[in-house]
Symmetry: D2
Subunit: 474 residues, 4 copies
């Protein structure tokens, strides 16, 4: 069996603690790797500290070359990596392939953005005090970043921290989820072959104690966390003087207006609702349908759901597979049962088998039920009807979360209202909230997050502006 | 009777040739002024040449102060100036007041933009050739600008050249229309009181020979012309090495979709069609109405037109008055008669009385008729029906002009098609093409113009970028 | 004696707790006002909550008008306000006048920026996933902001929070320093006369308990604090999900290079070192002078310092007056004495008389002495020599702070090194770190702060981006 | 012998007129190709017209892919293409290789910029007239571009028109110089293999009559010309309604300040002065050296020049080879002789042998001599001394040209003066005016040009803005 060494600032090392990685579909062991403890983290931090001045001064063309090499190598190993990812995460192969493609895009865009770091040239002479002076603003890397990545997109959500860190001249230590460390360790092998200065990048699967130190260590200048709201907000309080970026979850909603293209809406909602068993931050959890088209929509949506193929994640034809572990499947089951006991009605699915949970459609829910109010992170979609568009907006907004929302409509008025009034980070017209391309600004408001990701936007958050005021003559 | 001296680079002077300014409504003399010839132009150019280096180095706060003083003085004299403008241009007082307000806005925005001149700070090290280098781009004034303004907005369309010229550190010589030189000479009095260096600004009503020299003189670095297409395009050929900006006319169209808000469309089209007797570059000349709402629209539009009040321009209640002169009124009459003789049908109006031409609505026109194909610059609107939205787009595009277009719709699809396919400089959704606020980019494509105005955009056209490449270390 | 009511969301109210405001020069009472407690804060928050939707939708022109009215009223009352400010803060009148002028500038720039809120239009079709889609990013106000302002620029540092809040459509509650609440209460009178919706603005001098609630209350969406590092960083930990901006202090340094213009350097350092007795975040605390020019510089600097005129703050000729209170003067005295006991040498000054501390120049300091290492916030300047430019940079960087630095030089190489290597928020070439114009990005790194102020930059921090992804055709 | 067919909108075709391409070093025939006449041009225009709508709607990712494929193919054929280029242009192989690398960079940058076309999102509600409205500005391709490329960088200066045209969705017809059509016909083979819609690109070596039609044909929307000032400015007058970009020549100057790094200055001036026998628009034609360092500089410069290796262009060790033809070498000889007869002194070189002209250094020139006043486009450098920096600036500015200038200095003051006062498109500090990286804005003022190239800047010139004004609510 393959044993992946972890990557400490340029060296692949074992540690004293082994970590087994299972395929959640059949509990087979995918590979072994290691857990880092305080010592390994200390080593990674020290190496990062040393390499900071070199990173800061890397010319654009070097960063560009490094990032494009990574993108090209990912392209070359696309299928191989997708297989590893499918197995460690239990993610259907076709979605795993899609994730690799997105990571390639992330590194490509970061390569381009490394040449376009934010810069500003401004006049200063707006009052006599500034006469004959002008200003330049250059952005400098914050220094060292800790990136904590989740299990659901183990490669691409790590890439969303690594690629911008390289582009902006920062060092970064990545802590992958303990269940899914392999694809990012594969990425480490690729990065190791580039001319990225050693020390700039580490991948450390960690125990809890070492993980906490990522939050509190003063030598780390920024913490970028993707994961659950509860953990994320606690980190903010403990992060000291660090900058912080939180990409948390939500209970994303869709509005299907009276005049929507229903076939389009159904097709998109099937993917948004059930891809990777809904274990996606912007999974379609709630669909609000205008009463005049409610029944048609529901019929089509149920039919579509019934066509999804269950199977092993590494099978190319699989649409839906198991959840990441049985605990999560049980949690989803409990929430659904609780909802039913409080009056909700199951239109399809609702059953659990081990760590598999059926694609499930429910209705008659109330906003305060867990299936609506909390992030379900499972293949469950609640569909409700509305009679007036502003009611639909209120229904979406009646949540402590605000990540993205989708709106199917052809009305300019409805589009405008959606943009102005939906309390979310992104409003997607005629597509699901699950829509994300990797260069767009992405992130939530309310409890769903803090800051924005999306390569260029992440780069900006990973840098500090410095102003130069100079004479124009002397 | 008041005699306005002309303004030659800081001095108010008479010349040997008097110019009488008439009120087109009653042929009363509004005031007398003077025509400049070659000598006066020479003097203005020489003064401008001398002041160039001072203008280039004016700090932002001085330009800001000068421009805000102008705006404040215009505000103070608003009614007085509106009256002069109403009389020289035959423009209904309420529209004249609106024009002064817009000129105030132009100078205010220019004041703000004088602090925000374009500047760029860019990385150069995209290849090894640029290693350790970076670039700055600063914009410098081109030097001396000749601005030729039309009769229809004698103050505001001159302001659109003067205010950006001051903001960008250029000298400017304005040639007003011979029929309407007074309001801009009033402006000269205001500007004379500010600290704008003398020589930076001249107002010269001119005879044809001197006017031609504005086009050909090599000491003038840019020509900014607002007027007829025929004259404008000829200037482009004769302008030598000058930069050139042309704001010409068009035959602007409106599309009223099946699902438009008809009352809104009618209300807006009444203003767009008949304000200042249609003597507006973006006058609504053609309205394409979906066949299902055609009759309703036409009925409402006729009723609305019948409510317009005819009167003297300096009367506050006047909606519509005479045209700028009888020649123009006759030309409009001829075009309408010709259209009728070729099959068009008059729904309302169509009669001329001296230099007054009735607000006129026609239908059954063909695109090749002069009333459709040429710029009518009179109170005539052609209304036609369409059955399919892309047909309406083709009808608008079937023209050698392309200034602005209006589209009344609530459909996102129709909005998108309009934006992507209407061959114009500006598409106005749910308003008429006549819509213009003074900071927006404004200008035509096809035969309607060359370049964009709109304060910030004009400023950019009046400047030349200069790149500085410098070491980041040495 | 005048009693200033506090301003609670549109109403001027007394409270149960009076607060006397003293002139620190002669302990005369300037005026009385009131302290707000929990109830008043609750009322202010509730009013702010209610007015949020109205603020969000205020059109640009209304915000512009409100902000310009404020600027104009400040202009009109400039001397009167300067007198109040001079008295409450013990700030020499000429500097108080300067502060009013800067506040006018802040509101003027905010008026202009209210029309230029950040907006982005981006292509989405970088991969097939985004085909026929495009994106818009609009920025929305975070909602309610708590602004905590310090005693040293009681009007202008409050203005730096209030003006951007209005420009960005936020409500704001200002807590002024308890020693200097009057000038901002005068501002409240001015703002009350404008059309800013009532509830959008409150001024609450507060007791400690209520002050803490500004940090912890979940209804407040952002905390903007200007004050001491110790207090600021603690707030960050307690701020929950809020956005936070910290403008803290530093121990700003100046480098005087071998080839500097010494007279310029001395002239600027006198202001930077002793204006308002050094009670300025970017006060010149440390001067590093090249050994070849050290003696000349020191001689000139001592002579200059000896010319400063001591007097009452409200006297127009006063250069230097008392400190804010005797406690602070004693603290400065202690630090200087401690430094001397550890080997530092006093070149001038060093004596205290009540709350007056003499302008003091010391040398032979060590970086770890309090006079160097901590923020002295008093009229004390340490001058040291260096032999090599990079040594000077190291000396400046050897600090836990990083706000601004000044460098006097004519060398491109030295300028480049300064910009690339000085670990500060702003590097000022040929001027002191005390240089600030109000539209420039301003703020510190390391322990000196978090985020940037400077109208446009503050506005950006007070807003959240929201993305709209829409079809380009459908 | 290889016969290159010309490329007419997707088809490789012969014509009735053969065109032989010679190696200027030994008059050997490099290859044969064909001249296009009116018929071929007509065909190219018609094909371009047809493909316009498809080009306009190409998504970013398709344009990106096409442009990156071209870059990759150029990379693959780098040596092979460099050899062809060296032979057709008589360009030393090492410089030919450099040109291919730059063309690769041009296509790479254009690929990136195709995803970043200019777009603007602006608020409209600055007055009541714009309430509840907002604006979008999207840029649309002008349509069809004619690109006329010169012999000296036959591939890269064509690439500077082709790559931006593709990125911006325009069709383009390239007319290469008749002496150097081969490398761009090789490029056509590469482009033909991509998915660029056929019709979008043509390469037509042309006779004079057909060439003229590129200027006058109304179906061509923009003319982009790189070549001689005389031809260029005449085109501007004849271009009708077209947009026009002119990249013309100059007599670029260098200033070597008293405190310059002389070794650096010499090293850079050797390349700037003699690379490709000075047949470069930004060739170093004039060097102004401070009198204190004049003799040292001249000695070093002469020594350096003497080290240059003469040889065949396709030899890897060749530094300098023949000029493009004997006519040009004779012209250079005449100008030098004329200068000598008027008092100039030859310090090195001055002899012609066939089409080879020796690297030549002269002094004692006067600004009105042809070697100074006109563009020499040959390996001749005039060196003069100055005593005061502003004198040096005046000497550079005493020219009808203004492309780029180089300044060697370490003085901030001198850098500032240079940037503010040198009347050129680009000021290069501590490098020669010959410095160009392909993404920077590049172009001249005065007689040296009209508009800017540099991928992003060219793209902007090849597009027209279109404004959409829409309601924010309705």
């Amino acid at each position: 069996m393959q044993a992946y060494k972890i990557y400490i600032g340029g060296e692949f090392c074992p540690t004293n603690t082994k970590l087994k990685v299972f395929n959640p579909f059949d509990y087979s062991i995918v590979a072994e790797t290691y857990l880092a403890g305080k010592d390994e983290l200390e080593k990674a931090i020290e190496k990062a500290q040393k390499v900071k001045p070199i990173l800061r001064d890397l010319p654009s063309y070097k960063k560009y070359t490094i990032l494009m090499q990574i993108a090209n190598q990912l392209e070359e190993k696309r299928s191989e990596l997708a297989l590893i990812l499918a197995r460690e995460a239990g993610k259907p192969f076709k979605y795993a392939l899609g994730e690799i493609s997105r990571a390639i895009q992330v590194f490509t865009v970061a390569a381009e953005e490394s040449k376009r770091l934010p810069k500003e040239y401004l006049s200063i002479d707006w009052t006599t005090a500034g006469e004959k002076k002008e200003g330049l603003v250059k952005y400098f890397p914050v220094g060292l970043i800790a990136g904590i990545a989740p299990f659901n997109f183990p490669l691409n959500l790590a890439a969303h921290k690594i690629a911008p860190a390289i582009a902006s001249g920062n060092a970064i230590i990545i802590k992958p989820a303990r269940s899914t460390p392999l694809s990012v360790l594969e990425l480490a092998k690729i990065i190791h072959q580039t001319e990225l200065p050693k020390g700039a990048f580490s991948v450390l699967p960690m125990d809890r104690e070492a993980g906490n130190q990522l939050v509190t260590d003063e030598r780390i200048n920024m913490l970028s966390f993707t994961g659950s709201p509860k953990v994320g907000w606690k980190m903010k309080a403990n992060a000291g003087k660090k900058k912080i970026a939180l990409e948390l979850g939500g209970n994303a909603g869709v509005i299907v207006s009276e005049q929507a293209d229903l076939d389009l809406a159904v097709k998109k909602c099937l993917v948004g609702g059930f891809a990777y068993s809904g274990q996606v931050c912007i999974h379609v959890q709630r669909i609000m349908v205008h009463e005049k088209v409610f029944e048609t929509f529901v019929d089509k949506f149920i039919s579509g759901t019934q066509m999804l193929t269950f199977g092993a994640p590494d099978n190319e034809t699989t649409d839906i597979s198991v959840m990441i572990d049985e605990d999560n499947a049980r949690r989803v089951e409990d929430w659904v049962n609780e909802a039913v006991s409080e009056g909700a009605k199951i239109l399809l699915g609702g059953k659990r088998d081990g760590s598999f949970f059926e694609p499930t459609i429910i209705t008659n829910t109330k906003q305060e039920m867990k299936v609506c109010a909390l992030e379900i992170f499972g293949p469950v979609v609640a569909i409700e009807k509305f009679s007036d568009f502003s009611q639909a907006i209120d229904m979406i907004n009646d949540s402590e979360y605000g990540l993205q929302a989708g709106v199917f409509t052809n009305s300019i008025i409805e589009m405008n209202h959606s943009f102005n009034e939906l309390e979310v980070g992104g409003v997607i017209i005629n597509d699901v909230p699950t829509f994300r391309v990797d260069h767009m600004p992405y992130g939530g408001i309310k409890n769903s997050g803090f800051g924005r990701e999306g390569v260029k936007y992440t780069i900006q958050e990973m840098m500090e502006p410095r102003l130069l005021v100079k004479n124009t003559d002397y």
